[in-house]
């Protein structure tokens, strides 16, 4: 069962698609039915954290072992992280248009997300500016570790020092106290796991593609 996470992701996301749209949710002012975005928007950030952690882990491993496989992995996990980040921003932006009345606003979580994406775009550009494979691998690994360590205060400490507009922060109604019958919780937690598994699956496909491309090049 080495593909267990793929099955798990299909089953859980199937359930989330159906029960997330059809299931009951607590009535809340302002949020109303848009609260269902919780199943799609929030797990994006969990997924992004998961794949980016793996990316950094692979960067550390690369510096320790100088094995090119770790470099490829770290780049591909970072790509998936960027994808999740962009989807997270889009889902959040559409949701914000209908609840806050604007596509983008100055909120600490929004700023954190935007800066995180900027860092990883810079990482991609840094990778593109080297011709030598070994050097690209080593230097992008160093930047990956350095940047993430500086991103941690931004994402973990700063949001706690300021209020956010997000539901559940700064006196805004969140789902936790309202969700007395666990109607949202039984969809939200599986959704997180499902989206994380999907992230690993996407990366896995990309890695296999990269591997095949390399073999193709070697043959020609």
């Amino acid at each position: 069962m080495k593909n267990w996470y793929k099955y798990l992701s299909v089953i859980l996301l199937g359930y989330v698609m159906i029960w997330g749209i059809m299931g009951p949710i607590p009535r809340q002012p302002v949020l109303h039915e848009t609260a269902r975005n919780l199943y799609f928007h929030v797990p994006m950030w969990f997924g992004m954290f998961a794949v980016l952690s793996v990316s950094v882990w692979n960067s550390i491993q690369y510096l320790r072992t100088s094995d090119m496989l770790h470099d490829t992995k770290s780049a591909e996990y970072a790509n998936t992280g960027i994808l999740y980040g962009i989807v997270g921003i889009i889902t959040g932006s559409v949701w914000a248009r209908y609840t806050w009345g604007t596509w983008w606003t100055s909120d600490v979580k929004l700023n954190g997300a935007a800066i995180g994406l900027l860092i990883y775009f810079a990482y991609i550009i840094l990778r593109g500016s080297f011709n030598d494979e070994q050097q690209r691998a080593r230097i992008s690994a160093i930047y990956n570790i350095f940047a993430v360590a500086l991103l941690i205060p931004l994402l973990i400490i700063l949001p706690r020092m300021t209020d956010s507009l997000h539901p559940g922060n700064g006196g805004n109604p969140g789902f936790k106290p309202m969700d007395t019958e666990h109607t949202m919780r039984i969809v939200f937690y599986p959704a997180c796991i499902g989206w994380i598994c999907l992230g690993f699956w996407i990366t896995n496909l990309r890695l296999r593609l990269r591997n095949l491309e390399q073999i193709h090049q070697e043959i020609n």
């Binding site: 775009f121 810079a122 840094l126 500016s129 080593r138 350095f146 500086l150 700063l158």
Partner: protein, 221 residues
């Protein structure tokens, strides 16, 4: 180790003083940037929001730091760098560069602050705290940017890279600095800036430790 760092710092300073145009150039850079801002705003003195005053000052400092520190790995020729690397340990090199760049930033920031206060007016109420924020900023900017300069110097088109690599990671630091200096500007009780100062010190600590750990890998290439 300490002796090694000291002699490396000595070397950096001597190198800087030997080519005075570089140092003078940087000072002129700060002064003329400030003057450009002054003319762009067409200020009669004190007719600018405190927040704008503060933000503008830090943006000027950020760009000065970028320009001053970007050259710390590129001004010496490749062969000479190789020679240092055979003599000194990588940890010694990165620490000496950070200390030297901090000194340089302190000089530039204080000169900058003086000129800025003269032409743009000086609304700061708690000068001591403001100077502290400048010192913390100099340490933070120089340690972060030294490492990024090391990374960028290995690639082609390093000046663009320097900017895109360092701006996002310097933002947390900049936000903290803006908060502390805003508090100093308003003359708030110093205890209310304690949280920010501690966070900033923690970030500086993280940067220093990471630089010491990661630089040996960077140096090998």
């Amino acid at each position: 180790m300490l002796k090694e760092i000291k002699s490396l710092i000595d070397k950096e300073i001597r190198l800087e003083l030997r080519q005075k145009y570089a140092l003078n150039g940087m000072i002129l850079y700060v002064v003329s940037t400030i003057y450009v801002c002054y003319l762009s705003f067409r200020l009669k003195s004190n007719q600018i929001d405190k927040i704008t005053w503060n933000t503008l000052f830090w943006i000027i400092l950020l760009f000065t730091a970028m320009n001053a520190i970007a050259k710390s790995f590129t001004q010496e020729r490749f062969g000479r760098l190789l020679y240092y690397y055979t003599l000194a340990s990588p940890v010694g090199i990165i620490l000496s560069k950070i200390v030297y760049n901090t000194l340089l930033m302190l000089v530039l920031a204080l000169v900058g602050f003086g000129v800025y206060a003269i032409v743009m007016g000086n609304p700061v109420e708690d000068i001591g705290l403001y100077l502290l924020s400048i010192v913390l900023g100099a340490v933070g900017f120089s340690s972060t940017l030294t490492m990024v300069a090391g990374i960028a110097s290995k690639a082609e088109n390093s000046s663009t890279l320097m900017a895109i690599l360092s701006f996002p990671i310097i933002i947390p630091m900049l936000i903290m600095l803006l908060k502390i200096s805003k508090n100093a500007l308003d003359g708030l009780d110093r205890g209310s800036s304690m949280d920010e100062i501690l966070t900033l010190l923690a970030i500086d600590g993280i940067v220093l430790v990471l630089s010491v750990i990661l630089f040996p890998y960077l140096w090998r290439s």
